[in-house]
Amino acid sequence: MSELEVPAAREQLDKVQEFIQNYMEVSGFSMKQQGQVALCVEEIFVNIANYAYLPSKGMARILIAFDKPTGLLKITFIDKGQPYNPLTHKDPDIHASAKDRRIGGLGILLVKRIADEVLYENKDNMNILQVRLQKK
């Protein structure tokens, strides 16, 4: 398992991505899965950076662990911002016309579509969001 703690700020995104991609490369993940995970990581981390600590600032912890025997990758995002479960957010209507198309919720929709499992809990005043992906 590897852990990274960074300020929850958009400018940290590249650093977070590098951390995740390095770990996945060492664990032998395909470019396709690395790309899919990068997308999940961006969507979740940027949401934390944009909203978790508004109007103030805070830190984000990212943990990544790969279990070789089961092939299961787990990436956990932890923040101490306001309690928020992104999984309760109503999915945007993906069949709406361009005029009526709403932008909010697209990121978490992508995460839900890509990841095999997404779990949330709020514990000790921390938002804990975990994305699980099976290695292919």
Partner: protein, 100 residues
């Protein structure tokens, strides 16, 4: 990300290369907001884009809405399979035209 612009009268082709994510999509957003005056046909060439996130989708939607409002056309060209998949998962392939 780099953006190359090719204009021919009221037709504008934007060729992007690199990643279209939270940090780079403001570059495309700036072009959409400031450089589409008089443009009736917009081509967004994603042939050299290897990654797009919801931030990229947002800007493409803004571009489509603008072109709809001026009764122009817009297409996204040469999206790689992984990139096309992101548009497809979010239903954007229903509202944006994709060509090869």
């Amino acid at each position: 990300m780099d953006i190359t612009k090719e204009q021919d009268g009221s037709k504008l082709a934007l060729k992007l290369s690199g990643k279209l994510d939270t940090l780079t999509s403001p570059m495309l957003e700036k072009v959409i907001k400031e450089e589409l005056d008089g443009i009736k046909d917009l081509i967004i060439d994603l042939g050299k884009i290897n990654y797009v996130s919801s931030a990229g989708l947002r800007v493409c939607l803004a571009a489509q809405k603008h072109m709809n409002a001026v009764q122009g056309t817009m297409v996204i060209k040469d999206a790689a399979p992984e990139v096309y998949e992101v548009f497809e998962l979010t239903g954007f392939t229903d509202i944006i035209k994709f060509i090869k």
